[in-house]
């Protein structure tokens, strides 16, 4: 019987052919926790009798969710993480080095064919790399750090097949917002997603990360982009599904005429064509996060904002996904363009998206954000409204002071 990508990767790890529905205990190739989940992970690790992590080269801690520390309580949690990393001989990524998912990919903690467990819900991002990556909570992660293993139910797989190439001015973010709208926030719960078809084949690694990242907004256990067209700096053996693999459901879309998409408050699946929302006044524009803080995201914003000034009633915050992204955006002039247009650069990290610090909206304010979630209160104030869009949409909207279709600036 044929296998999906997830079934193949798990089979390779457990040494026998497994299929959806089976319970397995698998070795993992890597794991990580952030400063939201890390302190509880360390506490649980100690409580369960953990002395040494299973392999310090395969475990990482990242300080990104509240970096630099906004108060003494969080400063002390960060210290707890630094002390633990030093004691264990494992790497801790410091404030500003980057967002957990970006630094795991940049530093090759995860590779094609791997099983990776992260104490963060956007861990499926590594599906861009043809890896099986799952988010868990702190205690699960502590157990993985101690044993090097995870228990899993082999998931059923949903196939999402997108024919056609995206139009100019339409990006991977528009595509994944469209798909979240169709599949819904619970449409893939407990299941894996395989993204396949022409629309994905020409996408960069960064764009594939945007796609896989929002698998979690459909409730998926993991979301893997078909490796056709995936280019990496190293050689790898691509894992592809068998022709007779069994899918629990298949979606077929032709996305060749897809328009820019916007997700309206207060659920990521409340998605419609941008024309439904054009003209809504905004106060705050944000580009960053594990979803859309990479170089191509900043570059497209700079293309729109070059030589212009953002609207006087709008403030704009930029959080690059990593230090490496920031350095590239400095070298190619993008960062200068964005700052000259009126954007404010903050430390690479998650702060605004998770409502921790560095840009909480005021009561009644409207945000246009390149992030992946717009739940009530997500950015720290339940009395604000968050619209999600592509970085291009965020930049165009910052310029005009209202939600704006970016296509006219890009064609």
């Amino acid at each position: 019987m044929g296998q999906t990508i997830s079934e193949k990767i798990i089979s390779n790890h457990v040494g026998r052919k497994v299929y959806a529905g089976e319970l397995v205990i698998s070795e993992v190739d890597g794991c990580m926790a952030s400063d939201t989940t890390g302190p509880l992970t360390i506490k649980a690790f100690r409580e369960m009798g953990g002395k040494k992590v299973f392999n310090p080269d395969k475990c990482a801690l990242i300080i990104d969710h509240a970096a630099p520390s906004p108060n003494e309580r969080i400063a002390n949690l960060h210290k707890m993480m630094r002390d633990f990393a030093k004691e264990q001989g494992m790497r801790l990524f410091e404030i500003g080095e980057g967002i957990c998912h970006q630094v795991m990919v940049e530093n090759a903690y995860v590779k094609p064919g791997d099983i990776f467990i992260g104490a963060d819900s956007h861990t499926p991002t590594y599906g861009a790399l043809n890896a099986f990556a799952c988010g868990v909570g702190s205690t699960d992660l502590a157990a993985t750090m101690m044993t090097g293993k995870i228990w899993l139910k082999v998931p059923q797989t949903i196939q999402i097949n997108c024919a056609g190439k995206l139009q100019d001015g339409v990006t991977a973010k528009d595509l994944i917002l469209f798909l979240v709208g169709k599949v819904t926030v619970s449409g893939a719960t407990y299941q894996a997603i395989e993204f396949t078809g022409e629309a994905f084949e020409g996408l960069s690694l960064a764009s594939r990360m945007t796609i896989a990242n929002m698998s979690s907004e459909m409730g998926a256990k993991t979301g893997i982009v078909h490796p056709k067209g995936l280019g990496l700096e190293y050689d790898f053996e691509a894992i592809t599904p068998d022709e007779d693999a069994n899918y629990v459901k298949t979606f077929d879309f032709d996305v060749s005429r897809l328009e820019p998409q916007v997700s309206a408050p207060e659920s990521p699946d409340n998605v419609h064509n941008i024309s439904n929302y054009e003209g809504i006044k905004i106060n705050y524009a944000f580009i960053g996060t594990c979803c859309n803080g990479r170089l191509e995201d900043l570059d497209i914003a700079a293309e729109i904002l070059k030589g212009k000034k953002i609207h006087p009633d709008v403030r704009m915050v930029i959080a690059p996904a990593s230090q490496s992204v920031l350095l590239d955006a400095i070298s190619n002039g993008t960062m200068t363009t964005l700052i000259e247009a009126g954007a404010s650069l903050i430390t690479s990290g998650c702060g605004p998206c998770v409502g921790t610090h560095q840009g909480v909206p005021a009561d009644g304010e409207v945000v246009i954000s390149a992030a992946n979630r717009n739940f009530r209160g997500r950015m720290g104030n339940p009395n604000s409204n968050i619209y999600l869009g592509a970085p291009s949409t965020v930049a165009a909207s910052a310029l005009e002071g209202r939600i704006t279709n970016p296509k006219k600036f890009l064609l």
Binding site: L23, V24, I25, D35, T36, T37, P39, L40, K43, A44, E47, M48, G49, H65, A66, R73, I74, L77, A119, D120, S121, T123, G135, V136, G137, S138, T139, D140, A142, A143, M146, T147, K149, W151, K153, V185, S186, T189, Y190, G219, K221, S267, V354, G355, T356, V360, R373, F375, R376, G377, R378, G380, P382
Partner: protein
Amino acid sequence: MSEVQTNIKAKAHVYGDHIDTDRIIPGKYTKTLDLSTLANHVLEDLDPNFNKIVQQGDILVAGINFGCGSSREQAPLALKQAGVSVVIAQDFARIFFRNAINIGLPVLEIADHKIQKGAELDIDLKAGTVKDLSAKVTYKATKLPAIMIAILGEGGLVNYLTKYGNYSL
């Protein structure tokens, strides 16, 4: 971590579908090891009264996709610390479901429940049954995988691994 109580008789607090983890405990409160801080803000963006009215042992009931969003284990920890003894939903988001079991908070999936606000429930966790004493209906919860029953039976994953040292199926 305490042993899980297997018979629970208490009042139901009923909410709707897609209650995300930001609504269970907003991100701005999650960076702490102090469980009472979590309990003080539990569900505050959904129902600011919840932490004033919840009694020790009460039952939280919801619709579909309970606990979607973030992986924060602070969500089930906040509910447990606030006194919630069990969460019943039509279905759960997967990370919340694992987290709840791992910290010893029982979760029951009942796809067709019609439990109303204020209902008195009588739960037998071992049998997986929920008697709605107000509506005089008995529901049967979806059976957990064996490994989850074992983890929950020990009061959570910390106790499970302290006892067994590793996973087994």
